[in-house]
Symmetry: C2
Subunit: 184 residues, 2 copies
């Protein structure tokens, strides 16, 4: 497993970005390597290509499996475990969004809901609760919406994205057509 400079630069970049995307350097490198490799590869190949310890690769693959970005494969007649990126780029991106939503929004939503059940004890708490309610509603809105969007599936989403700023016009259109119900 020899990497050309082009591929190496891509992998190293993904490593650097990894931490910004919610996983660590080596995990980023591993997933990059798996995405660009045509064939499934073994953990040893990975350790070798990235010059990192075998143990580290094992931990990284474990995490990537938790993210459902990598899957295990067995070749017939071999005992070795082979790994490959699972699904298309599109599906992988979806998984990353979903996982990040779980990590970045859900815990906060839970906490906010709990806090908002309590009666404010004084003026400061009362003012704070108004703000917390706003944060809660915004987060909940984003969270629900992103779930809906994922349900649309690639084709429709792609249409929606290509629509770009045209979205505004379509919304106007919808308002005019459905001018019967009194929706604010």
């Amino acid at each position: 497993m020899q990497l050309t400079p082009m591929l190496e630069s891509f992998i190293m970049h993904f490593g650097e970005m990894g931490s910004r995307w919610g996983f660590n350097r080596t995990v980023g490198q591993i997933v990059a390597l798996l995405v660009i490799s045509e064939e499934p590869i073994t953990a040893n190949d990975i350790a070798d290509a990235l010059r990192i310890s075998r143990g580290n690769v094992s931990m990284g693959l474990k995490e990537l499996q938790a993210w459902r970005l990598v899957q295990l494969q067995h070749k017939p007649g071999e005992r070795k475990e082979y790994f490959q990126a699972c699904g298309s780029i599109w599906e992988m991106a979806n998984r990353v969004f979903e996982e990040r939503r779980k990590r970045e929004m859900d815990p906060t939503l839970t906490l906010l809901r709990d806090i908002l059940l309590d009666k404010p004890a004084n003026g400061a708490e009362q003012h704070a609760q108004v703000k917390l309610q706003e944060i809660h509603d915004l987060l909940e809105g984003i969270s629900k919406w992103s779930t809906e969007l994922q349900r649309l599936g690639p084709d429709k989403l792609s249409t929606l994205m290509k629509l770009g700023s045209g979205v505004g016009k379509v919304l106007d259109l919808k308002d005019k057509l459905l001018a019967k119900p009194s929706n604010s």
Copy 2:
């Protein structure tokens, strides 16, 4: 500046989440404190309320100003600097999205564009470039689309979000109405 347990739990939670949202613990706590405080407060108040060093507060506020989440204020006749969260929750969320797009997507887009200009040197690179192109297109799509969405402004975006899964129907509607142009 005495914090009630309710407010403290919120602030501490934001501290923990901070690192997942792209800044560190104290920066998260500071922004939480500013959001829930009715009046602008001084850096000393912050250090005091959060039991962290004055220097740390200074660095945190500097970073928050870079994110444009916090603004400086002067009270007439006083020399002290007061700070407050700038804008509504909505605006702050917008800033966070924007900043994160810059940090998490733009560098990768730049790198991918560069790599894709090079001719693949062998089969492996050729296969890899196909994948990289897919990643590039997806990132670019998301990036452009999120820019468009921000341009829509809060009111329209809110409509769009409330539409939820109804988006699919509106898209169908649009397709039927504009059935003249041959858009795939």
